[in-house]
Amino acid sequence: MATDGEAAIKAQDLAKRFGEVQAVAGVDFAVREGELLGFLGPNGAGKTTTINMLTGLARPDAGTIRIAGIDCSGNPKAAQHLMGVVPDESNLYPELTGFDNLCFCGSLYGMNKRDREARARELLDRFGLADAARRKFAGYSRGMKRKLTIAAGIIHRPPILFLDEPTTGIDVASARQIRQLIAHLNVGGTTIFLTTHYIEEAERLCRRIAFIVQGRIVRTDTVENLMRQTEGRHVVEFAAANDAAALCKAMMTDFPNLRCQAVTGGGIRVESSEPVRVGPLVRFLEDHDAEVSEARKIHPSLEDVFVRVTGIEAGAMKQEKEKAKRGGDA
């Protein structure tokens, strides 16, 4: 894919409105050739709408899209031969076998019979699905469906791959295998645009990350630079059985140098620019009838950066996504 120094994917001022809802509002970013960019945001932030606009499934209200230097703003078909797309939900044919699904997807990109059959066998082997090749897609487990959907997205060896929530709602082993495959594809030179709500996944896979909230990119930077924000931060998390939100409020009044936050599961997270002295805090909590079962030092992560930049509690975002996914699958 020769782009003459141009970005593999470039979006400028992209905007999309559905009725009263401004789904995407002036999104700008560029993904360099061979880069893996993570697009991180909560449910409804505009991630899927952005992917749909980039791939030709949605028409932007405003803005421009260039894929491998080709202006796709007016003609989304112009660069579809360069793209592989893995949607957030499997969209293969339930009545076809795994092998037939892959061959069919290959044919959509003009691959001849011999090429697509050889490539389908290669991918089924690589994704550990060779034994299920002749089984109908409808009978696959969720993890197998995800893997076959990804295989279908790369059947034609696209130089640019769009992955929309590739590991949401699947078992740990399959998710791990998919992450390894994504990393392997990227090492092989594939440019990848990855949306996810798993912060640790983005941290592990991506070199750069864009945070999107309410249709706007609030920050784009390398993981390294983002993590630099956490330097000099000291975090301690308390497991305390009581009203965490009320305790946080009281704690910040008594300890004005601390930043407190209730976390998922009833805990309290305390942050400071100086080392946190645990003793006074435990005493404070016990004085407020909270039963402290654990206090542990937390090494600041990308999740902390995300929370700070977006103001959204990452655990809640993950739960919300998983719930939505389960609901969608039901």
Partner: protein
């Protein structure tokens, strides 16, 4: 060339997944048979009435066969999101939709000839003008399929597609001159007949099988072709507006 690989494989997949399934094959045979028997018994005029009934039964078989299938091959796939995979493929939308409708056209043409084969055992069909009958059957199949596509694109649920189809299909049985001449319709209904594509197809079918056409055949063929082009163009516009939002 590469786009044609996609075209052929979409068609082949649809034939395998939908049209060559036993329920659809039996529908393709039983439905025309039932229509033939119904009108044959109702006419009460013996085997001589077969050539007069044949055009109507052929047209109805094509109309119902094609419009029913599009609700499945398009609306169902859209609902199940597998249609998105086709929209993401680097093939022009026109070719993609032709690939999705070719199966229905072939199914419709095959349906049309089921009553012809049955009639061949019961009546003398030596007077049929095949040179006009075959092209008009194809054009009726194409126009009915594109009508089905127009309906399939206008709705989001399979049951809505079936309901909306009936809104067009059943009036067409009575308004298009299939089983009795348009002139026998109330005067206020007659203009409606002339805005329905099947009217022109039925006229050529009648002319090919048993009596002269009411309109010049060239006009029938021309208008039928125009309906095909218009329905396809409107359907494509609706896909672009409704599905690529």
């Amino acid at each position: 060339m590469k786009a044609w690989i996609a075209y052929w494989n979409i068609l082949a997949k649809d034939m395998r997944s939908y049209y060559l399934k036993p329920p659809n094959i039996s529908w393709g045979i039983v439905f025309p048979l039932a229509w033939t028997a119904m009108f044959f018994i109702r006419s009460g005029s013996g085997l001589d009435s077969i050539p007069a009934l044949l055009p109507g039964v052929m047209a109805v078989s094509v109309l119902f066969g094609t419009t029913s299938m599009l609700a499945v091959t398009v609306t169902f796939e859209k609902k199940g999101r597998s249609f998105e995979r086709l929209l993401l493929a680097p093939i022009p939308l026109e070719l993609l939709m032709l690939a999705k409708t070719t199966g229905a056209i072939l199914f419709g043409v095959a349906n049309a000839f089921v009553p012809v084969v049955m009639a061949a055992f019961l009546a003398d069909l030596s007077g049929i003008t095949w040179a006009t009958l075959i092209p008009v059957v194809v054009l009726i199949a194409v126009s009915s399929t594109f009508l089905g596509l127009f309906i399939a694109v206008s709705v989001s649920e399979v049951f809505e597609a079936q309901t909306f189809s009936n809104f067009f299909r059943f009036p067409m049985i009575f308004l298009c001159g299939l089983f009795f001449p348009i002139e026998q319709l109330p005067v206020w209904l007659q203009p409606l007949s002339y805005v329905l594509p099947l009217t022109y197809g039925a006229d050529v079918l009648h002319a090919s099988i048993h009596h002269p056409a009411h309109m010049p055949l060239a006009l029938d063929f021309g208008l039928l072709t125009l309906f095909c082009v218009a329905l396809f163009a409107v359907s494509l516009r609706n896909i672009r507006r409704r599905w690529i939002m």
